[in-house]
């Protein structure tokens, strides 16, 4: 029998914790519920959930700061569930490393669908990518991505944490270096051909990935924007001992 996925719900409203807990348990998930940031930290000391549903307005800490801190040291997927539903809140939430954002009030089935989608996205890559590079180590511009451990190392050997989405996206670029990839292709490759509810997600993830890689967003040298076409990883990539790309992508920024 499969081990149920463990979801941690962080929300100060007991009615929301009850509703989300009931919904997820009814659908086969194991659920932990805590009311605040302190509860989140205590739980993370004891166990590693598969996904966190995080409210933004918590009594002791700002959920956005928690999200950022979480992302800096963990790859656990995060869905923000908040009544702060303005576009800017969504954008900031995604910028802070959340994998998805759902405004309150919400339809329980929509939350369930998003939980499943984010978990699937965090775990899956297209078959061709998974089969090819499950044990690979990529080297590019002094950086190293170790696929089995999902660890990214900077040229100064500093460990850089990536969210599930960022890892998937970087892996796709490393599999297709110096090739212009459209937003649709990036969505397909990195998200397993799902319909994305928030169509700027790829752009935001690119922006976050550039920051992780220390790439200047105004004049990126690694992940370049190709106007009206998409993005290209403009760098030589080595996988294991073999060269996996050329230096010149032949594209502008």
């Amino acid at each position: 029998m499969a081990i149920p996925d463990h979801v941690l719900v962080v929300d100060d409203d007991p009615d929301i914790r009850t509703l989300v807990g009931k919904l997820l348990e009814k659908n086969g998930f194991r659920v932990s519920k805590v009311p605040d940031g302190k509860g989140l930290r205590l739980l993370l000391e004891k166990s590693q959930p598969d996904l966190i549903v995080l409210d933004l307005m918590l009594p002791d800490e700002d959920g956005l700061v928690l999200c950022r801190n979480l992302r800096s040291r963990s790859n656990i997927p995060v869905i923000i569930l908040s009544a702060r539903g303005e576009d800017m809140d969504r954008i900031i939430g995604l910028e802070m490393g959340a994998d998805d954002y759902l405004g309150k009030p919400f339809h329980p089935r929509e939350l369930l669908a998003r939980v499943k989608s984010v978990l699937r996205r965090a775990r899956t890559l297209p078959d061709d990518v998974q089969e090819q590079d499950t044990n690979a180590t990529y080297r590019f511009a002094g950086w190293v991505l170790d696929v089995p451990t999902r660890q990214l190392y900077s040229p100064k050997s500093k460990k850089i944490f990536l969210s599930g989405g960022e890892f998937a996206l970087l892996r796709v670029f490393l599999n297709h270096p110096n090739r212009v990839l459209s937003r649709d292709q990036l969505l397909d490759f990195s998200h397993g051909r799902e319909i994305e509810p928030f169509d700027r997600t790829i752009d935001m993830q690119i922006s976050r990935l550039r920051r992780r890689l220390g790439d200047d967003p105004k004049k990126p040298s690694l992940i370049k924007t190709v106007r009206s076409s998409g993005y290209v990883l403009a760098v030589r990539v080595e996988r294991g001992g073999e060269s996996h790309g050329t230096d010149d992508p032949g594209s502008g920024d």
């Binding site: 009615d15 929301i16 009850t18 509703l19 309150k104 009030p105 919400f106 339809h107």
Partner: protein
């Protein structure tokens, strides 16, 4: 002879039957807490209670509670006593007329 107020019938997924009564009990508690907070001029509490109602109501199937919560939260933000009073009256009326059908 008074006229019976019109019922508000809300149809809710029977999967939620176990937790909906508790949710409605909590809204009854809100109806005790909201006027107290208003008397004390505690607009932060009013705002929090409205915010929570807004966030949770529709998830349980009670869109009306989300709407009333939104109105209370907005009125509390403006420190608009009359707006909050109206929201409390609307909540009391909603709860009084509510009829839940599980299906």
């Amino acid at each position: 002879m008074g006229v019976e107020p019109e019922k508000i019938t809300v149809r809710i997924d029977e999967d939620l039957a176990e937790i909906v009564p508790g949710y409605l009990v909590n809204r009854g508690k809100d109806l005790e807490q909201l006027p107290l907070a208003l008397v004390e001029g505690n607009f932060q509490t009013l705002r929090t209670l409205g915010h929570r109602m807004k966030g949770s109501g529709a998830g349980y199937g009670f869109d009306g509670i989300s709407e009333i919560g939104r109105a209370i939260e907005e009125a509390a933000k403006r420190e608009d006593r009359e707006g909050v009073e109206q929201g409390i009256a609307d909540l009391a009326s909603y709860m009084d007329r509510l009829e839940v059908v599980y299906e």
